[in-house]
Every structure is written in C-alpha cells, then in structure tokens.
Amino acid sequence: MLCVMARKAADDPLAPVTLVVGPEELLVDRAVSAVTRAVRAEDPEADIRDLAPGALQPGMLTELTSPSLFGERKVIVVRAAHDLGTDLVNELKAYLGAPADEVVLVITHLGGPKGKALLDAARKAGAREVACAKVTKAGDRLALVKTEFRTAGRSVTEDAARALVEAVGNDLRELAAACSQLAADTDGVIDEEIVARYYTGRAETSSFDVADKAVEGRAAEALEQLRWALSVGVAPVLVTSALAQGVRNIARLGGAPRGARPGDLARELGMPPWKLDRVRQQMRGWTPDGIVRALQAVAEADAAVKGGGSDPAYALEKAVVTVATVRNT
C-alpha cells in the first residue's frame, strides 16, 4: 500500500490519505473541498462523509471504509484529529497501515504537540500533506487579500487591501468573505474609497432616509445614507421601493386638484396628513419631466437589484443620484 501512496504525486488530491495540518480554518476548508471536488469529478456517485469533530466514534471507521458489494468511491473526512482518543488513533493508525481501495481519507489536524502520534504515523505512511499554518503576520493577511482578489479576477490597490485587513480584523474566513463580497458588489479596481464605503462608518439608517434625502435633492447626503444603509444590511429592494414611493407621492400630489381639502387629499392619495405636509415640502423644484426621469431611473434600479444587472449597489447609487439631481430639469 505504501507504494501506492508513493506513486501518487504529492499534490494529487486523489491520494489515498491527505493530511491537512494547521489551525487556519479557511485554508483547511479549502484543502478538504479540493479533495471532495476531485473525487466527485472522477465518480459523481461517490459517497462523501464529512465527520464533524467528535462525530467519529470507536468502531465507525471500519464500517465507513468498508466497500459495498458493488464498490463505489468514498471520501471520509476526519476533522480535528488531534482531539481523538487513543482508541480512535489506534484505529486510524491501523487503517493507515492498510488503506482501503476506493477510499480517500482526509485527516485534519492542528499540527501542535497534541495528538502528534497520529500525525507522525500518517506522515510515515506517506500521506499527502497540505499545510494550513496560522496566518499571523499582517503581511500574510495582506497577501491573502491580494490572492483572493486575484483569484476572483479583480485587482486591488495596496492601500485598499491594507484598509480591508484593518477594518475586518484577523479572522481569515471573515476576510475572505469580505473579499468575495467586494468582488461581487463592485466594479473596477478596488480602491480605498470602496473599502471605506463598505467597511467603515457603520451606523443605523433606513431606506426611507435615503429616499427622503434623494427627493429633497440632497445628493451627497442621500448617497452617504445609501452606503450606510447597505453596509448595515438594508436590503436593496427596500431602497428602490422607498425611492419609488417618494417619487410617486410627489407625482400624485402634483397631479391632485389644487385647493382640495387636506383630509380628502390624504384619503385620495393614501397617505397620512403629516406625510402630506412633508411631501408638499419635497415637491418644490420638481418638474413633470424630472418626475418621469426619476421614476424611470428607480424602475431600472429595481430591475438591477432583482437580478437583472450585475452590480446592484451601483444601480442604486445611480438611481439615488438621478432622483436627487433631475428635479430642476
């Protein structure tokens, strides 16, 4: 069996045993999924058992590694192997001495002194090894951020990468998630400004604040509110809905007969009297043509945030800016 292992190239994810060593969870997860993906690619019917830490019980391994009458491929992932008891370590060692055909075993291990016997045994048995050392230096985290963006086909400025690491912190998983989010939500080179927009200045705001500022023509404030709103997780559809309501109110009040009683008007337009006053304020400066363009911009943004466009955040910004600037045209 040893010779079988030796035949496998060191970076062959289909090696009979893969040892994923190190505490960096993000890298561990990626190493494991590289193996399962590779096996699935060979045998789509493969049976994949990813055992959470503690899920492996004495006696289970033999059954897990046992073939069926027909013999399809299997992947068994033993997580946090450094915590395994002696029995299980012995079972695993025994298995390493005679790995089963058609089974790919993945063992994840912190790499420290704890449970070192298993680590040594696996290395001695010729297991393929993937190092997932803790990324401690800021420089390494920076490198990771750059790699993440490169993998996503995007470029990032040095300053932006640094700002992101500072804003998000040391957790690599969160950092990777932030990278993929930025890559998905933005266009062009990722610069410091974009990072700042997404990951700094988190404050409470709502979609209606955005809409109010926009219809009042305060473009800069509206844009700022929008960025905050998105960064605190306000759903983009709520923003378009609020914008639409804002423009709609102005259009309908503008079209209402002059001199109508406020009470009747409120009922007719379906808004509370206090709102009527606010809308009256907001109406100033709006022209019919402006309303037309504003509403069309909001409709476009609504399509974009609902999957019609590749960049919902940008679509929202465009709509907010349009609403805030077309009123005098």
Binding site: A244, L253, G254, I291, A299, D302, A303, G307
Partner: protein, 396 residues
C-alpha cells in the same frame, strides 16, 4: 370530437402527432418504431399557442382505447375512457407536472425520475408532461438527462417551453421538436363559434383582440367584466394628461389586471377545493374533514396561493400585450396601412392618438411597453414599472 379539437390552427403539428400516435400503436403491437414515435418530445411555441394542450392531446392519443381502433380508426377519439381521463388529468399513466415555482429543483426531478422508472399501469405508455421545462435548474436538468437518455421502454417525456433556446442544450438535443405557432385569428374565431356557440361578430372581435390566445379569446367573448377591464386598459393612452393622471392610470391598469387574475383563480380555487373536500369525505353526514386529511387541504391552499401570484403576473403581462396592440393599431393608422385594426371597436381613440403624434413617437411608445414587460419579468415592482411606462407613453 377528437383529442385534437382544442388545438387551433396547428394543422402541421396535429399531423405530426397523429402520425406518431399511430406509430406508437405499432410499437405496442411489436412493430419497428415508425411514424416518428420517440421517447422524448419538446413542445415549443409562444404563450397561448397551446404547448401544454398539444402535449396533453398527444398523451391522450397514446392512451386511446377506442373500440374503433380495431376497425382501423385512428387513436385520439376524445371520448373513450383513455382519452377522457388523460384530458381530465386523472389517467394513471399521464402525469402532468406544472409548477407555480420559478424553478424546478433536483429533489422534485428525482421524484419524477423515480416515477418514470415505473411501468405503465395501462400497459401502453407512461407519459410525463413537464409543462415548464424552461424552469429546470441545471442540476435538475442533469438528473433528468439520465432518465431521458436511457428511458424505460414505455416512458415518454413531453417537455414544454416557450422556445427551443429555453431548454437546456443537453436536453433539447435528445428531444423530437414540436413547434407550435400563434393560431391565426380566423381559426380562433371559428373555434369560438363552433365550440362555444358564440355569435360571429363577437367571436371575430374576441379572436382579433387577443391575438390568437384561445383561452383569453373565450373569456373575452363570454365574460362581460373581462371586456370592461379590457376597455379600462385600452383607455389608458387617452388618460395621460399630466403626471398625476399618468400615475392614477397606471394604478388602474394594475388594479384591472389584479381583478382579472382574481376572477380566474377564485373560480378555479373554489372548484378544486370543493372536489377535494368531497373526495376526502368532508361532505358526508358529519360535514367536516375526517381526521388526518387537513394537511392535504392545506397543501392545496398553498399551491393555490402560489398560483395566484403567478396568475396575477400573467394577467398584467397580457394587459400590456393588449396595450401594445393598441399602439400597433395607432401605427397602422399613421402609416395608412390597409390592414384591419386589432381594436376596431376603439377606433376613435386610435385615431386621436394617431393624429397627436408621429410614427416615431408610436414606435418609442411600443418600446416603452416592451421595456415595462421585461422589467416586470425581471421582478420589478409591477406598479413602479407601469408608472415608469405611463410616464414614457405621455412623453412620447
């Protein structure tokens, strides 16, 4: 009557399917496959052309047990037990799968594949009609692909989609294609007169007004309220005075479509619920549902809710199609083309709008309606999309 009666203006398709149904009988009798019978079919055609109707008719023809068959009759008599239960949707070997969901996933498809592995109960063909094959996810498509590639000997798949491009490429290459067209107005009018006893003038109006969509034409011809809602929709071009009235007109159009949808679904919902309660025994001496059946009724209600959402969207889209037809009439008048108007009954409005603008304006307006339909299809809030459209129509 025959099973093909509901297919209007699809002579070529009917000929193709009839030949296949005859060939299918040969296959059952142990002959070589002939007449173009095969295991996987893809029915395509624009909305209202009757894709699902064609698939059901073909399924019924495959299940026909008419005694005339032995006298040389053709399968698809339309009244034998096999045809009747296939068309009603209760035949054991005709499984019509329609979805109210926006996509069909792997889990649902696995279940279909399992059912497809069963032999037919009636010893003929096990037919699975998938009405919304364009909604299969890629994963689901792959699950289905295996079943289509290696079908059980008596299983026939009938997939329906608006166009060939809507089906996954791997799947469509394994299907025999049945292309339906929008039925000609005359054929629809003829059918309304023949089948529903509608007078010629009304039949011709309804057929023309609905552009060949049979179900809509029938509703328009038989339902006064549907006609008045349509008048509401066609009134919109004259109600675009100022911004406020545009917004109000948009609201009315959306409301009219919603009312249409509600009428369609309410009628259907009530009938389905009554049938189910009856079958479960709720209308017996006790007058209540036997224990353990409430879940079944609840499931039906959930399905009905989802259908209502979908119907509402469909109705709004149809209202916009009507509006497009109005502007096409406007264009016809502006260009002086010697063709009949779809909306002859509102010719004064058409003339007014035609005089007030140029053909270029009209083309831009038609574009705006198309953009609105696309926006709603992309999930834009319907009222917002229609408002934006109304404002563009006003600007011209």
């Amino acid at each position: 009557m025959t099973v093909w009666d509901d297919l209007v203006g699809q002579d070529r398709v009917i000929a193709q399917l009839r030949s296949a149904a005859v060939g299918a009988r040969g296959v059952l009798a142990g002959e070589e496959s002939s007449g173009g019978m095969t295991h996987a079919w893809l029915f395509t055609g624009p909305p209202g052309s009757g894709r699902a109707t064609a698939a059901r008719a073909f399924a019924a023809a495959l299940q026909c047990v008419s005694p005339d068959l032995s006298l040389g009759g053709e399968p698809g008599c339309g009244h034998c037990d096999g045809c009747h239960t296939s068309l009603t949707g209760t035949h054991a070997d005709v499984d019509v799968v329609s979805t109210e969901l926006l996509s069909i996933g792997v889990k649902e498809t696995r279940d279909l594949v399992r059912r497809a592995a069963l032999s037919p109960a009636g010893g003929r063909w096990q037919v699975i009609v998938l009405e919304d094959a364009d909604r299969l996810t890629e994963g689901a498509g792959n699950v289905l692909l295996k079943a289509i590639e290696e079908p059980a000997p008596r299983t026939v798949w009938m997939l329906c989609a608006p166009s060939v491009e809507d089906a996954l490429p791997t799947i469509r290459s394994r299907c025999r294609h049945v292309a339906l067209r929008t039925p000609p107005v005359a054929a629809v009018a003829d059918m309304l007169m023949r089948r529903d006893g509608i007078d010629p003038e009304m039949a011709s109006y309804a057929a023309r007004a609905t552009g060949g969509n049979i179900d809509r034409a029938r509703r328009l011809a038989t339902d006064e309220q549907a006609r008045s809602r349509r008048a509401e929709v066609l009134g919109l071009p004259l109600q675009l005075g100022d911004i406020g009235s545009c917004m109000a007109a948009a609201q009315r159009l959306v409301d009219a479509a919603a009312a249409d949808a509600k009428e369609i679904t309410a009628e259907l919902d009530a009938r389905e619920t009554e049938e189910l309660r009856n079958a479960l025994g709720a209308n017996g001496p006790g007058g209540r549902l036997p224990s353990g059946t409430a879940g079944v009724v609840k499931e039906l209600e959930n399905r009905q809710k989802k259908r209502a959402t979908r119907t509402q969207r469909d109705c709004l889209d149809l209202a916009l199609v009507d509006l497009t037809a109005f502007y096409r009439d406007v264009l016809t008048v502006q260009l002086g083309a010697p063709v009949p108007l779809d909306n002859e009954q509102v010719r004064p409005s058409v003339d007014r709008v035609a005089r007030a603008g140029t053909p270029e304006d009209t083309l831009r307006r038609i574009e705006a309606i198309l953009a609105c339909r696309e926006a709603i299809d992309a999930n834009v809030a319907p009222l917002l999309a229609v408002e934006a459209m109304a404002l563009t129509l006003r600007a011209g």
